[in-house]
């Protein structure tokens, strides 16, 4: 893999994870919802888009929208029973919900029509890439990078506008406790559900982009581990700051992808290296929570 190719790959990954990190930041940073199952949106977006494009032979853009709608709907639905729970119950409930969805895709291969597309534990291959025929194998990644960046910019603008609006002020007050927004007559539960729907659909968007870039998805790519990597991004970058969320995604992705070259220089097994990499991410979360609670870019304090 040439250096340029690697950098383009890295940039695409950064873009996709930045979208995930922005959408987790909307939940945790702004609203105080500790979603430990964020990967479920990523997973649903990837699967829905794949089913729509591969099985039903629809265009990419419909897959993208379909993935976003389904992931957003899922966010809305799982918050119906859980929206009034305390944050620790919320965390375990979302973790469980994400695993149920993953187990579903692991066990049911008929959702992708079975047969030629496999599905289940084998995963699904041959997911078409949008407008692939217009580009050569060499130039296509650059085009895909443009798609990812357009999506990232759109996500940033929408979430940023949202958090600076009246809606943003309400969800920030929810983060500080239910009493104030309730005294102002805000329906706290509805706001939480809306946040989950919006954040869910952007998580779904990231999933679609991921599936069509790699051309292959399987339930093993959506383990809870992914959720924790996104958490590290939000915590390191700076919660409740959208620029921070993107910075966090960039830093963690550089760290995550550059350490894989270490095995060329140090005699170390790939499995051990992968473990050590996750040890570092775990320690990073602990250290950041202890000494750098606000993250690299602090939340802007505004007087209203």
């Amino acid at each position: 893999m040439g250096l340029v190719n690697f950098l383009v790959y890295l940039a695409i990954m950064m873009g996709i994870y930045a979208i995930l990190s922005l959408s987790l930041n909307l939940q945790y940073g702004f609203t105080g919802l500790a979603n430990f199952g964020h990967v479920v949106f990523f997973c649903l977006g990837a699967y829905m888009s794949t089913i729509i494009v591969l099985v039903f032979k629809m265009p990419f853009i419909l897959g993208l929208l379909g993935g976003m709608v389904v992931a957003g709907l899922f966010g809305y639905i799982i918050s119906i029973p859980t929206a009034n729970l305390k944050e620790d119950y919320w965390a375990i409930a979302t973790l469980a919900a994400a695993e149920i969805v993953r187990i579903f895709f692991l066990n049911e291969d008929w959702v992708v029509g079975g047969g030629p597309y496999q599905g289940g534990a084998f995963g699904i291959g041959g997911i078409p890439q949008p407008l692939r025929s217009l580009f050569s194998a060499h130039t296509y990644p650059f085009f895909y990078l443009v798609i990812v960046l357009v999506c990232l910019v759109a996500t940033y603008i929408i979430i940023n506008t949202l958090t600076q609006s009246a809606f943003g002020r309400v969800i920030k007050s929810i983060r500080e406790g239910d009493n104030l927004p309730q005294a102002l007559g805000k329906d706290v539960k509805r706001f939480r559900m809306k946040v989950m729907a919006v954040a869910g659909s952007f998580g779904g968007l990231a999933g679609c982009l991921w599936a069509h870039y790699h051309g292959f998805i399987s339930p093993n790519q959506f383990l809870p581990l992914e959720t924790f990597i996104i958490w590290a991004m939000v915590i390191v970058g700076g919660k409740a700051n959208n620029k921070g969320a993107i910075l966090g995604a960039v830093i963690i992705m550089i760290f995550y992808n550059s350490t894989r070259f270490l095995k060329d220089y140090i005699p170390i097994e790939a499995v051990t290296l992968a473990s050590l990499r996750m040890v570092a991410i775990g320690i990073l979360i602990v250290v950041a929570m202890l000494f750098m609670k606000e993250g690299l870019i602090k939340e802007k304090k505004t007087l209203y």
Binding site: A34, R277, M278, I281, G282, L284, I285, V286, M289
Partner: protein
């Protein structure tokens, strides 16, 4: 499989879960945060016992006891290094920290011992086979240790000064401190007991099945489910929750739901309808969400928070 066999399997599972849930519930109660590293501490104990048992050749019983005690001490050190600095932080901050700790612990174990399944050096188990069921000596051990742990816990809570101080500190930390109870000392004991019990539970699971770095993550949802079902901070609730979950997991796969839908033969919708075994892990997840939906304060519902 006979009903008796399913009941035995359920009780074995419940005993394992009890050992893990008891610890989670007292830490939760004392420090007011959901400790996502709880089951990972248990796995540290599991691998320490593996080291003592397989590498150093110690018999399994002393190996399990030493490893569990050592893991208890290890958790105290972690508390001093990390959680003690966050006593005044909100529960959500400490919870996220414990998540980071869990990831670090799990992967440290994987880096040292590898990702493959391993086993303790114990002689091959000859099961006791009767007409209705079969049970291995290890399964009998699991049930006995589970019962002993419950009994020891009850004695500790209600018949020792430490238990009284623990209950006082959890009900009202300020008042307890004003009455001369050294809260920090109690917290140290709580960590030690919680993690020692959890490690023992983990080792028993390892003895019954096999040892994997991911086993801690595999049981975190069932353990949380049992704890929440019983009502957080309620050890007796945790025991009851573990029992309900143990039975639900085993009977969930055993019951023919087709018969229930057909109302025992009156209707005729479907012939047989079993939950596929691939969904066994999902049973506790679904149960957890149902419990949160219907009774977020647990079956016994002792605690005021929800």
């Amino acid at each position: 499989m006979t009903v008796v066999q399913v009941v035995i399997n359920s009780i074995v599972r419940a005993s394992e879960l009890t050992l893990l849930s008891l610890g989670l519930t007292i830490v939760y109660d004392m420090l007011k945060f959901a400790n996502f590293a709880h089951t990972e501490f248990a796995v540290v104990g599991v691998y320490l016992a593996l080291f003592l048992n397989v590498t150093l050749g110690l018999p399994i019983i002393p190996a399990a006891i030493i490893a569990s005690g050592a893991t208890g001490v290890f958790s105290i050190l972690v508390d001093r290094a990390v959680f003690k600095k966050m006593r005044s932080s909100s529960g959500i901050i400490i919870m996220v920290t414990s998540l980071g700790l869990a990831i670090a612990l799990r992967n440290t174990i994987r880096a040292i011992w590898g990702a493959d399944a391993q086993n303790y050096a114990v002689p091959l188990q000859t099961p006791i086979i009767t007409e209705y069921f079969r049970i291995t000596p290890i399964q009998i051990w699991i049930i006995l240790v589970g019962l002993a742990a419950m009994f020891a816990f009850h004695l500790l809570l209600h018949h020792t000064k430490l238990g009284k101080a623990m209950r006082a500190s959890s009900d009202n930390p300020e008042l307890a401190q004003a009455s001369g109870i050294a809260t920090e000392k109690i917290i140290t004991w709580v960590w030690f007991m919680a993690v020692t019990f959890a490690s023992l539970g983990g080792i028993l699971i390892g003895l019954e099945t096999y040892i994997l770095p991911y086993m801690g993550f595999a049981i975190i949802v069932p353990v949380f489910c049992a704890t929440i079902m019983g009502g957080i901070g309620n050890p007796y609730g945790a025991m009851l929750g573990a029992m309900v979950l143990g039975f639900a997991e085993n009977f969930g796969l055993y019951i023919d739901f087709g018969k229930i839908i057909n109302l025992g033969g009156i209707l005729n919708f479907s012939k047989e309808l079993f939950i596929p075994t691939g969904y066994k892990p999902a049973i506790s997840f679904v149960l957890l969400i149902l419990v949160l939906l219907i009774r977020p304060r647990g079956i016994l519902g002792k605690k005021k928070e929800g």
